[in-house]
């Protein structure tokens, strides 16, 4: 569960514009616990499953890799969204019942 969740977070971090490793970690750190060494296998997995593509660009006289989301990556995010909409409905149902029970 957690592993798949991190994959989705990484995709979400690059969905609006291409990003690079360090920035992805920084962008995600307020929301999930992710380190550079956790990110690395995720990026490679997403690359091999063709959810993102990698390009190398020069930055300050050195090379930096930028990650770009593909169509199937976008598809994966949409799938996540619909899965969670369902779950949230269940969550609301469950918590509402608990609340009314306490009031009695």
């Amino acid at each position: 569960m957690k592993r798949g969740l991190l994959d989705v977070c990484v995709l979400a971090a690059i969905k609006d514009e291409d990003s690079y490793g360090y920035r992805i970690v920084k962008d995600l750190s307020p929301y999930v616990e992710i380190s550079e060494s956790t990110l690395y296998p995720i990026l490679r997995r997403l690359e091999s499953s063709q959810m993102l593509t990698v390009r190398t660009a020069e930055h300050n006289g050195r090379l930096r890799k930028y990650y770009h989301i593909t169509d199937s990556g976008v598809e994966r995010l949409k799938q996540f969204e619909s899965e969670w909409k369902e779950l949230m409905q269940i969550y609301e149902y469950v918590t509402r019942e608990g609340g009314s029970h306490e009031q009695n």
Binding site: G21, Y22, E36, S37, P41, L43, R44, R62, K65
Partner: protein
């Protein structure tokens, strides 16, 4: 640890991976350190914040299939000379069976792993089924009330045991997966990581 030291240690920890895997991993960590330094983190801290070399090595190895690692190890590093090829051919009756038996051992380990899991659940399912059949038989039989009571008692007991065992088996399977992951990582580490570094150290 400085960046150069870190990169050097990482490279030797990953020694044995394919050229491509090695370069990709080292490039990634180099980029991370550079970005951290550029962000204002001092070099020492930028390196230490990435975690220990062993942690990083474990994470990278977990993602690379063991077959790739073994293949990389077996592949000759340079072109073989005529004499070497001749020796390989002459030695074939010796090394081919050894390699074959290693492959077969690996395959049978893999198969027995899944067979154990399968047999656990088949056992459990058959217990459950016999329980259900006993209960059904208790109502279908014509030997009287006592037999019916006996059969349904056994049926309920069997079904109960099968449910309990199901949870027990789940734990066993979980443990098996945990141990097999550790075992595979250990196997991978036999092939990856600098072994000659100690020799180099004594040479220095």
């Amino acid at each position: 640890m400085s960046k150069t030291e870190f990169i050097e240690q990482l490279r030797s920890a990953l020694n044995g991976l394919s050229e491509e895997d090695l370069k990709k991993s080292v490039d990634y960590y180099e980029e991370m350190i550079d970005d951290r330094i550029e962000d204002g983190i001092p070099e020492e801290e930028a390196v230490s914040g990435l975690g220990s070399i062993e942690e990083i090595q474990n994470k990278i190895l977990k993602e690379i299939p063991i077959a790739n690692i073994v293949k990389e190890k077996i592949k000759p590093k340079r072109k073989l000379g005529g004499l070497e090829i001749a020796l390989l051919v002459i030695g074939a009756p010796l090394w081919v069976p050894i390699v074959l038996s290693l492959i077969i051992t690996g395959l049978s380990l893999y198969m027995s792993f899944w067979t154990i899991i399968l047999s656990l659940y088949v056992t459990d399912f058959s217990l459950f089924l016999s329980g259900v059949f006993c209960i059904v038989a208790a109502f279908m039989q014509t030997n009287g009330f006592a037999t019916g009571l006996f059969l349904s008692g056994i049926g309920v007991a069997l079904t109960g045991v099968s449910v309990l065992l199901f949870f027990g088996f789940n734990q066993i399977v979980k443990g098996m997966f945990f141990l097999s992951k550790k075992f595979v990582l250990w196997l991978k580490k036999l092939f990856v990581g600098e072994k000659k570094s100690s020799a180099e150290a004594t040479a220095v």
